[in-house]
């Protein structure tokens, strides 16, 4: 089976060079053709997107754009829609994730981009979203209007299905011309979304493009970066630094690096009834997309003193992971990924040798592992792919100071604790760099309007043009109706 990735307005398929990426899952195989553009083609594409963005997208009201996106999302939520069917059929083959997990994950995720949720996005960043459509009064006096960039370049990473929608939709809401570069690990979804948008509103067909190049292809990357007004990039710090070195100095650059998220379970959540629920939710956070998200947990801090001990919580969690393995089996790992898991286990096993109170659960050949540790163990990333560490602590209040050295890497914390403790912990965690606190079981499903890494999804993309009060006042004197 062959599928073509990307979305290239103005370029005929036969003018473009296509390269084939091969994917397989069990007996299913899929060949994806990805476009390899010449410098000239990249420049032509950027010119077309810039021009169409100025003339079409920027003339639409935000409400109209919200409606168009809402219709596109409605199509992807409709399980009979051909694109949705294609997503359900092909994404498991491309990413290796379990089909059911993808189906449920997509629905939950897409629901955060419907009209009411998009309006929430806007309201989160703009006290008056009308500022995207026209000059609006601002608090300091005068008026201002927000403009999105002519060319917003997205460099996406990872294989969590649908993830590019976050920034692509953000770009559309601020009326930017968007060019997104898809990762080789999941090159399809963004292109489908672009095609749906173009089908729904043909006048926007040229306002965005989806391209590909092999990660690290500097020539291709430079060809696009020089066209950009603003660059959004995702990935590891090394590749982000490399991209930054190639972004022209006058171009704004926003980087979203790898993050570590974790969970905290208060003794109040460890009574006999609630502990199994907490273990179920914690396991779900681990299982969803095999910890590939920035919001996926790597460690759970579990407080002593509840009816259920951290050690028994660990066992509940282990059994939940075993159960989830039957419901949502882990995807087949690459050799490198399997190596990371083995290295993580090896490290944990070494610690068990020196500290017999530590434990490691799950078979070495199995699809999950839980390490149980006591004392001040290092706060470190897991081996990914369903490897998780449980750290028993006397008090959750001690955790924040322990993780403070990792400020640049912290993101989501899933917390099960009573209200006063939740606020107390949140305050401490915020100080050391945590930007999102969710319920256990919700770590991998940020709510609509979430401030990614504590930043503004939309506000960070725009520039304000202010008409100061003086200009407004003086202009009166030039009016034909001046008295």
């Amino acid at each position: 089976m062959t599928e073509r990735a990307g979305y290239l307005p103005g370029l005929a398929a036969d003018e473009v060079e296509w390269r084939v990426l091969r994917f397989g899952r069990g007996i299913e195989t899929l060949e994806i053709e990805v476009p390899v553009l010449s410098d000239a083609q990249m420049a032509a594409l950027a010119a077309r997107v810039r021009d169409a963005g100025r003339h079409h997208l920027k003339t639409l009201s935000t409400a109209r754009i919200v409606n168009i996106i809402d219709q596109a999302i409605a199509r992807l939520l409709d399980r009979d829609d051909p694109y949705r069917r294609k997503a359900e059929a092909l994404l498991p083959v491309v990413t290796g994730y379990d089909g059911e997990m993808i189906r449920l994950g997509l629905t939950g995720y897409l629901k955060t981009f419907r009209k009411p949720e998009l309006n929430r996005f806007l309201a989160e960043d703009f006290p008056n979203p009308g500022i995207l459509d026209d000059f609006q009064p601002i608090a300091k006096g005068g008026v201002a209007r927000a403009f999105g960039p002519d060319i917003l370049v997205h460099i996406w990473a990872g294989n969590v299905p649908g993830l590019p929608l976050w920034s692509l939709i953000s770009g559309l809401l601020v009326k930017a011309g968007n060019i997104g570069k898809v990762p080789s690990a999941e090159p399809l979804f963004a292109g489908w979304f672009a095609q749906i948008l173009a089908e729904i509103e043909p006048s926007l067909a040229d306002c965005f493009a989806i391209v590909w190049w092999k990660g690290g292809d500097i020539v291709q990357e430079k060809a696009l970066l020089k066209e950009a007004e603003l660059v959004l990039a995702y990935g590891g710090n090394e590749s982000l630094a490399a991209i930054r070195s190639r972004v022209p100095v006058t171009t704004r650059y926003l980087a979203y690096g790898h993050k570590i998220s974790f969970g905290m379970i208060s003794r109040a959540a460890l009574d006999v009834r609630k502990a199994t629920t907490a273990a179920h939710q914690a396991a779900y956070d681990v299982v969803r997309y095999d910890q590939q998200g920035c919001y996926s947990p790597h460690v759970f801090f579990v407080e002593r003193g509840g009816k259920v001990s951290p050690r028994d919580f660990c066992r509940y969690l282990a059994h939940e992971l075993a159960s989830f393995e039957r419901k949502y089996p882990r995807r087949a790992l690459t050799i490198a990924e399997a190596g990371d898991v083995a290295a993580w286990r090896h490290q944990a096993e070494l610690k068990v040798l020196s500290r017999p109170e530590h434990e490691i659960m799950g078979d070495a050949e199995g699809a999950w592992s839980v390490a149980y540790v006591e004392g001040d163990d290092d706060f470190a990333p897991s081996g990914l792919n369903r490897t998780i560490k449980i750290v028993a602590v006397d008090s959750l209040a001690d955790v924040a100071s322990r993780i403070a050295p990792y400020k640049a890497f912290l993101q989501t914390v899933g917390i099960a604790a009573p209200p006063d403790e939740l606020y107390r912990l949140a305050d401490d965690l915020g100080r050391v760099g945590v930007t999102r606190i969710s319920a256990l079981g919700q770590m991998t499903a940020p709510e609509a309007g979430w401030h990614h890494d504590g930043r503004f999804n939309l506000l960070d993309l725009v520039t304000l043009t202010e008409i100061e009060h003086s200009a407004e006042a003086v202009s009166d004197s030039f009016a034909p109706y001046v008295d």
Binding site: D312, A318, A322
Partner: protein, 255 residues
């Protein structure tokens, strides 16, 4: 069914149903701990048979109604075999099954009930608790308690014995709920009368004929008949069954 690398502890395994269960596990490659109370020679013979059948086996003497002896039994098994995957609580307090001369209700004292209830539950309670740390550590394990079909159909009302076995089934269901989240399963096997065993050696032909007449399969269970369901409940084939009671009586009881 493959029990290679699995460790099974069977209580009361020097004779009768327990010995048959031990042999059956060994035949599928398991390492079997043959617990017994008194008859060392018999237990050693069962262990030898187990080894001949292809499994590992060792006899372990212990009075499973005694807490200290349970602790040293489980400690000994763990020391010998490293873990316990399956516990079969088969031992029970001696009871005379004599339909003609059984005690009628008004002849029974509370002490008679007490004896049987303790016989069925003290050992099971103690052993379940003792094997739990080892099973929890690996979040897997199967416990199988041997009950009786008399609970569902008291063909002959052995009040004290059957009440104790009914308590055992209730005990098992509660434990199944508690241990499910740890991946540990608890089930019962409830045989009808099994012949020949030491407990049924003196059962009269007339009684057996009466039972055979009402049994769809038209015979009485042998110890080997009981082993299949026990192995099944110990195996991954029953991985999603817990808190259940399987009746092994040729269809006398249908639930």
């Amino acid at each position: 069914m493959d029990f290679q690398d699995k460790v099974v502890l069977v209580t009361g395994a020097s004779r009768g149903i327990g010995a048959a269960i031990a042999r059956a596990f060994a035949g599928e490659g398991a390492a079997v701990a043959v617990n017994y109370l008194q008859n060392t020679a018999a237990a050693e013979a069962v262990a030898a048979e187990c080894r001949e059948l292809g499994g590992e086996a060792s006899p372990f003497q212990a009075d499973v109604t005694n807490g200290d002896e349970i602790t040293s039994l489980v400690g000994g098994v763990l020391e010998t075999f490293g873990k316990i995957d399956v516990l079969v609580n088969n031992a029970f307090r001696p009871y005379v099954f004599d339909p003609e001369n059984r005690k009628m209700f008004w002849e029974l004292d509370w002490a008679d009930y007490q004896t049987q209830i303790e016989g069925a539950l003290i050992s099971t309670h103690g052993l379940c608790k003792a094997v739990l740390p080892s099973m929890k550590m690996r979040t897997q394990g199967a416990i199988i308690n041997i009950a009786s079909d008399l609970v569902a159909r008291p063909t002959i009302p052995y009040h004290d014995y059957t009440t104790a076995k009914a308590a055992l089934i209730g005990f098992s269901r509660n434990l199944a709920v508690e241990l499910g989240p740890f991946g540990i399963r608890v089930n019962c096997v409830a045989p009808g009368i099994v012949y020949p065993t030491d407990a049924t050696r003196d059962t009269k032909e007339e009684i057996k004929d009466m039972l055979i007449a009402s049994t769809p399969m038209k015979r009485i269970a042998t110890p080997e008949d009981v082993t299949g369901p026990v192995l099944f409940l110990a195996s991954d084939w029953s991985r999603f069954m817990t808190g259940q009671t399987l009746y092994v009586d040729g269809g006398l009881v249908m639930n």
